[in-house]
Each structure stands twice: as C-alpha cells, then as structure tokens.
C-alpha cells in the first residue's frame, strides 16, 4: 500500500482519520502506533516483528545511557550504535560485501529506522533530550507511518511535544491535506511521467544515444528524482500535520543552488543534518584544521553515498560530491565565489546533472561512457536508435515545462500574494483538480514505487 495508491488515499486514510478523531485523547497514540504497525505489516508482513524488537532494544539501551554516566554511558551508546549499524549492514550490505551468500531480502524502512535509532540514542547521551520512558510514545516516534518508510529523518525532540500534545486544528488539517495532494501530484503527474522515458534512455547504450538524448536523460532523471522524493516528503509532512504533528522541511528548491555546498542545505535536509550532527561533528568537524576538515567531509559523503545503496555507483556518487565540496571549501570558497551568480548556478546544475547520471547508472562503466559522451557532445556514437522526438511526446514536454517552473519558488511566491478567501478558493480549486487528476492517473496503475523506498 503506497501513499500514492487510491486505496491509501480513498480508504485507508479516511478510515484512520475517522478512528483518530473519535478516539479519546489518551488512546490516540495507541491508535497511531497500531495503525503504523498495521501499515508496515501490510507492506512487509512479519518483518514488523523485527521492527518491534528493534524499538524495544533501543528503548532499553536509551534508558541505560541516561541512567549511567561517563564511560559506562558511553559504553551503552557504543553498543547500541554498533547494534543499529550491524542490523542495517546485515540487511543492506551483506550481499554487496559477500556476493556468494544467498540473497538477503531488504525490508522497507531499514535505512531510515537505523538512522532514527542512532540519532535518538546519541541525543539521549548528549542530553539533547531525555529518554522516553513510555514505550508506547517511543514506538510512535519510531514507527509513525508518515515517516517510517522513507523519512524525513525526525529527531525525537522535534516531535516529542506533539507526541504528548497534538496540534490539531481545522487549519492544520486543511493545510496537511493540501500538502499531501501537492506531494501526490508531484509524484504522479511529474515524476512518473518522466519515469518511462528515463527507463528507456538508461536502457540504451550511451553509444546508441545522441548527445542531446544523453542530456535529456540526465535532465529528466534530475527532475524525476526531485519530484519523486520531495513529493514523498510533502506527503509525509502533510500527513503528519493532519494528525497534529509538525515535521521539519526536507527540501527547499535545491536546483536554484549556487554551489554544491548550498545544494546540500536544500536537498534531503534532514539527511544532511543527520550526517552533520552524528558523523561530521563527532569526527571533529572543522575544528581540527583544514586538512582534517576535508578528510571529514570526504568520509561523510562516502558514507552518504553508501547509505543510498550497496553499489559502487552510489559510493562514487558520494565521493564525487565529497570532492566538489572540498574544492568549494578551499580558501573559504575562493575557487567558486569569484564567479558571477548565474555562472555558479550553471556550474552547480551541470555538476548535479552529471552526478545524477552516476547515481542512476547500473554500473560505473555505463556511467563513464554516458558522462563522457554527454559532456563532450560526442558524435562517435555507433548508431543512434531514435531521433530525440521519440522521447519527447507532448505530455513529456508539458511535464518538463511544469517541472522546471515548479523547481523555482515563483509559483509559491505568486500564491502567497493571494490573501483571505481568494487564497482559500484558489487552494481549494487546486486541491480538487489535483485530487481528481490523481484518481485518474492512479486508476491506470502507471504509478511507480518511490525511488527512495529502496534505500
């Protein structure tokens, strides 16, 4: 049951709403935990027991970390962090590291769950938040269905207040629903429109595509992954709002960045913050001199790449970003800052397009040929199978135009000029239109799984 399936939006969600609002206050958390576990169970069956076990182990250790002091507390922290990493490693990396082993199934949510668990225990150790003594509350933090599968990565202190006191209001429900539909529309109307073309382009050899087609593939995938994942984040944030929770933002128009450093402040923000707080700073951050800062940055991005998947392409993608971030940092950014803003924006976009090719490619050999032919506008292709018009149907062009416009904050700025009832009516009309378009598109079952579900 995906967030973008009609069953979820037409049956599951209204039913859960209804139950949620008729349930007395003190049982609301219990209901949300039950519903979240049911949601996970429906997708992954008895792996839900793993999740339950995982929560309990983290619950026990967080209490121990809090109760003890000094080295003992640190010892408990190290044990639970290693435990979380081992579980993540077992499911996600065993087959990569030991290809001879039989295939290990990667259940949904493992990567995000592990990061939540590490963040929670480290924060308890750092006294950022007290350990949650109520197991039910902690279970809700870990398993709350809007963020369970693919984030955003929430810190406990960010929603601990909402767990105890929910901020439920008509305005929040309305804003939440609107956000959900916007996310669904991003996913189904834009990302999934690009998906078949991207699949077709990346199924062809780079030597059977013209340079223009290679660029088209890179551009479409950049937009696809942005609308796919930011759409998911919108749905998660919107759903949380409906139930009285406030989740942090995860995207902030990343493609308008004027540097790769800025990109990481706008793209998957909760993941960037996680790596900053739980890896970069513990490694010493920028407090131990320039060289150490660069090494730390590199380590963080290698880890970030590897977190995305057990494949060399992700690893190289992370390294690529790490190297550029280091270059951008040398001598306080003198290598980049001298450039006019539009050139910086252009350089950032070219870099991102190139790096997404590595991310999307099946292997490094493919990525290398693709990037080489793309950047050199190579004419040495053996045989171009299709003219570019084959990939550019009118609906693709339309989605491309919308996708490009919406990647800039113009529409949001325009919408913010509407006030009072005008704004309300415009939003409602948009909501109804997008909902109906969603039902039409979803009925055809052409929607795809969220890209970040496999990470």
């Amino acid at each position: 049951m995906s967030f973008v399936s009609p069953i979820f939006l037409v049956l599951f969600l209204p039913l859960v709403f209804l139950l949620y609002f008729i349930t007395p206050k003190k049982y609301k958390n219990l209901l949300l935990v039950f519903v979240s576990l049911f949601f996970y169970f429906w997708n992954e069956g008895l792996y839900v027991l793993h999740i339950l076990f995982w929560v309990i182990v983290n619950y026990v250790f967080s209490l121990q970390i809090s109760k003890s002091v000094g080295l003992v507390s640190k010892f408990h922290l190290v044990v639970i962090v290693v435990f979380n990493i081992l579980i993540l490693g077992y499911f996600k990396y065993t087959n990569f590291l030991f290809p001879a082993t039989s295939v290990i199934y990667l259940p949904l949510a493992i990567s995000f769950f592990a990061f939540h668990a590490i963040a929670y225990n480290v924060d308890v150790y750092r006294r950022v938040n007290k350990p949650e003594k109520n197991l039910l509350n902690l279970m809700l933090y870990f398993t709350f269905f809007p963020h369970l599968i693919a984030g955003p990565i929430i810190r406990y202190h960010q929603i601990s207040k909402n767990i105890k006191l929910k901020n439920i209001s008509i305005e929040n429900i309305s804003q939440g629903l609107f956000r959900v539909i916007c996310g669904v529309a991003k996913k189904i109307l834009i990302a999934d429109t690009f998906a078949p073309i991207v699949n077709e382009i990346f199924a062809l050899s780079p030597y059977n595509l013209s340079a223009a087609e290679l660029w088209l593939g890179a551009i479409l995938f950049s937009l696809q992954i942005y609308y796919d994942f930011s759409g998911y984040s919108d749905i998660a944030i919107g759903l949380a709002k409906v139930f009285g929770f406030t989740f942090p933002e995860n995207f902030n128009y990343p493609y308008i960045s004027t540097s790769v450093t800025e990109f990481w402040k706008r793209w998957h923000i909760t993941l960037s913050n996680w790596f900053k707080d739980y890896l970069y700073i513990p490694l010493g951050g920028n407090r131990k001199g320039a060289l150490r800062t660069y090494i730390n940055l590199f380590i963080v991005f290698v880890a970030c790449g590897f977190w995305h998947g057990a494949n060399w392409t992700f690893l190289v993608w992370g390294m690529f970003h790490g190297i550029i971030l280091i270059l951008e940092r040398i001598k306080n950014g003198t290598l980049v800052n001298w450039m006019p803003q539009f050139i910086r924006r252009f350089y950032t976009l070219i870099f991102l397009l190139t790096s997404w090719v590595i991310f999307r490619s099946e292997n490094l050999v493919y990525a290398k040929s693709y990037i080489k032919n793309m950047l050199t506008f190579s004419t040495s292709v053996t045989y171009v199978y299709y003219p570019i018009s084959y990939f550019l149907d009118k609906d693709i062009l339309l989605a491309l135009v919308f996708g490009t416009i919406l990647a800039f904050p113009l529409i949001r700025q325009r919408l913010s000029t509407y006030k009072g009832w005008h704004k309300e009516i415009v939003k409602t009309m948009l909501f109804v239109l997008l909902f109906i378009l969603f039902l039409i598109a979803a009925s055809s079952e052409t929607y795809k799984t969220f890209i970040y579900f496999r990470f």
Partner: protein
C-alpha cells in the same frame, strides 16, 4: 466560516462519493476490458489467512485496487486525457500511431546481449538440442516476432531496437546444430492477407498463429517427408468483422463501437483426412497467445480443456493435481473464468477455493492448430527448462521452444 473548511469539505465529498459508488457497485471494475482482467473474491478471506499469508494480502490489495468506486470512469478518462488532450503517443508502456495501432515500447531491459550472455544462451539451447538428438527427437527453436518487427511501417518510429537481441542470438547459433525458425520473414510476407496481430494488442491473431504453424510444420516436413500437416485448404477460413477493437489493450484507445476490427476464424472442413496422422506427439515450451475471454462459451472451453490439463497445474505451481481436478469441474460449469495479474497468478495457491482464478491465457496460439494436427500436444511455459522426465514418459516426435522476441532474456537462465 473558519479558514480551511473548504478543502476538508471537498475531501470528504470526494471520499464519500467514491466510497458510496464502491458499495453501490457504480462503475467499479465490472467490465473485462483490461489485459490482466480483474480480481474477484467470492468470499472475504478469513482474517487469519490475511494475517498469515502474503499472497492473500496481495489478493485483497488487488481486489480493492480493482473495485474502488467510479474506477472505470477514471480509467477511461486517463487515456482520453493522455491521447486526445495531451496528444501523447505513449501510454501504458505502449505507443500508438495515428491510425490507432498500438505497440509495446521497449521493455525495461538492455536492448542487446553481452558476449558472455550469448554464450549462456547458446549453451542452453545446444544442451537441449543434444539431449533430444540423442533420443532422435527433432528440436526447433522458434522466435516469435513482436508486432513492430512485422508491421515495421506502422510503428511511429523506424524500428531499430527490437531486432537487436534476436539478430545477436541468430548469429550466435549460426554455427550450431540448433534448428532455428525465425518467423519474421514469413509473417512480413503475409501482412497483406488478413491481420496477423490485433490492432490494439501485442498478441498475434489466429491467422498470425496459423502462418507460424504452417511454417513450423513445413520445416518439420522437410525432415519427415511422411508427415502431413493442415494447410489452408483443410479449413474454412472466414473473416468476422467486430464493431470495436478486439485487443486487450484496446482500452487505451477507448473500446467503443466505431473502430471495426477483423477477426479470422478457422473451421476444419468435414472429413479432413490429415488430422492427427500417425499418433504423433508434440511438446511445446510455448510463448504465443490467444486470449480466451471471460465470456468464452462453454463448448469452446471444453474444446481446449485437454490442453489446459497440462497448463493449469504448471501455472499454479504449488497446486496439487487434486486441486486442479476440483477447479476443472468449476471450469466445465463455466461459472467464471478470470485472469489475474501474473505475479499473483503464478504464486497463488487457490486460497482454498475462495477465489476462482483459472487462467486461460497462455500458449494456445500455436497449440490450437497443434491440437488438431497431433495426437497429443503438450504445452509447458516457455521459461521452463526442458523436462527430461516428461520427454522420457511422453516420447514426443517433436519438441519446440517458442520464445517471443521480448522474452529472449528467459534464455539466460542456466538450466
């Protein structure tokens, strides 16, 4: 009125409309218009079954997906918007030309094989061939072309990718003993007679299958001059004009009247002397399709049952033969013959007969004619390895591995 109410009111309105329509069965998935058909559940599976069996959960998921209110309206609006308003040619992993001919687009796999993959394919086929050769049984590897490889001029773009893998495989097998039958040429030579493929479907028609059958039998006769096969002269061949497109993806082009399509029917002439000569048997690993729809007549159903006896237990992989015999009765009563989506179909364990889910889809195309020509025609799915026990038991006179161009990857399986 407080701000925010409007969106909530409209959300509730949409949900109530759809839910009411669902319970009143208004425009839910009642029509059999899609390739995969719809899932039907006669009784709600017990909670215990839902909780313990992932197949049952998948079934319930599919059922809900197929039956939410007004789904058919949304389903038909999608191609309307996509094709007519947005002017797209690409829909449901297919591409449509201006005359309504639709074609599957490139499947999500590589368009060519690597050298090492070609060696695996060669080894697999050579291995089968050599085993059968040791038993004195001829073996044909038949490649069934995709529609765009035959109707090259109708595809909206020049065909440059579909034949790549096929040509590679043919080239790889050139220096082996494997007898390859490439049907592209013979089908291309017959495009001007009757339609060989459905207009809005990837499957060939009875006529297309017949042309292929004739070609395979001709090749076989070259090896066995005593063998006789049915030719056009043995049939009454008559076209039937339907008032709407027949293909199972016709939905993407609106399955409304006003889009006539010709279907060619075959009726064996009385007293044909060539039927089932010499009590010969044929074993096919088949990959061709003739759709048998829900509204299939009881008599027609009974006609193909002998073939299905071999198919059904294989498709329901984990089903016991006794289970098959039970559903055979159901089939003979012709209550309801439903196709369900392949991933469920192959894994489904019949769910204690809560669901009727017989499959009448797979390889009946060529087999329709083989059934008439051979004393016994045994069919197994194309992606199964050669069953040597079956060969020993049945001692077929001819074994065919029939693979569609789009399924050539199945040959990569090491047997």
């Amino acid at each position: 009125m407080q701000k925010g109410y409007l969106i909530i009111i409209f959300y509730i309105l949409i949900i109530v409309t759809i839910t009411t329509a669902m319970f009143l069965n208004i425009s839910t998935a009642g029509e059999f218009v899609e390739h995969r058909g719809v899932v039907e559940i006669q009784r709600i599976p017990p909670i215990k079954k839902i909780l313990t069996d992932s197949d049952t959960r998948a079934l319930v998921n599919s059922y809900l997906r197929d039956h939410y209110g007004m789904r058919n309206i949304f389903l038909k609006t999608y191609p309307f918007i996509k094709l007519n308003i947005l002017g797209s040619r690409r829909i449901y992993s297919g591409m449509r030309n201006s005359d309504g001919w639709s074609f599957e687009t490139l499947p999500p796999s590589k368009i060519s094989f690597s050298q090492s993959e070609l060696v695996i394919i060669e080894n697999n086929l050579v291995q089968e061939n050599e085993y059968l050769k040791s038993k004195n049984i001829p073996y044909f590897f038949v490649i069934v072309p995709r529609k765009q490889s035959v109707y090259t001029n109708l595809y909206p773009f020049p065909d440059k990718t579909f034949n790549k893998k096929t040509d590679q495989v043919l080239n790889q097998l050139k220096n082996t003993d494997v007898e390859v039958i490439d049907l592209r040429e013979v089908l291309r030579n017959n495009v001007d007679s009757f339609p060989l493929y459905f207009k809005t479907d990837s499957h060939w028609t009875n006529y297309g299958a017949f042309i292929a059958y004739e070609e395979i039998m001709r090749k076989y006769q070259e090896q066995n001059s005593k063998f006789k096969y049915l030719t056009k002269e043995d049939f009454e061949i008559f076209p039937v004009v339907h008032e709407r497109w027949l293909g199972d993806s016709s939905l993407m082009s609106f399955n409304e009247p006003g889009h006539p399509e010709v279907e060619v029917k075959f009726k064996l002439k009385e007293g044909s002397s060539k039927i089932k000569p010499n009590n010969w048997k044929i074993l096919t690993y088949g990959d061709s399709y003739v759709e048998v729809k829900r509204y299939v007549l009881k008599s027609e159903l009974l006609h193909i049952l002998p073939t299905m006896e071999y198919i059904i237990p294989l498709l329901f992989e984990e089903t016991e033969r006794s289970d098959y015999l039970k559903i055979k009765d159901t089939l003979e009563n012709s209550i309801s013959v439903i196709q369900i989506e392949p991933n469920i179909r192959l894994r489904n364990r019949l769910l204690n007969f809560l669901m009727i889910s017989a499959v009448l889809e797979d390889p009946l195309g060529l087999n329709f004619f083989f059934e008439m020509n051979f004393d016994k025609s045994i069919v197994q799915p194309f992606n199964y390895p050669l069953d040597r026990t079956l060969v020993e038991k049945e001692k077929p006179n001819l074994v065919i591995r029939e693979v569609n161009q789009s399924d050539l990857d199945s040959l990569l399986k090491t047997y």
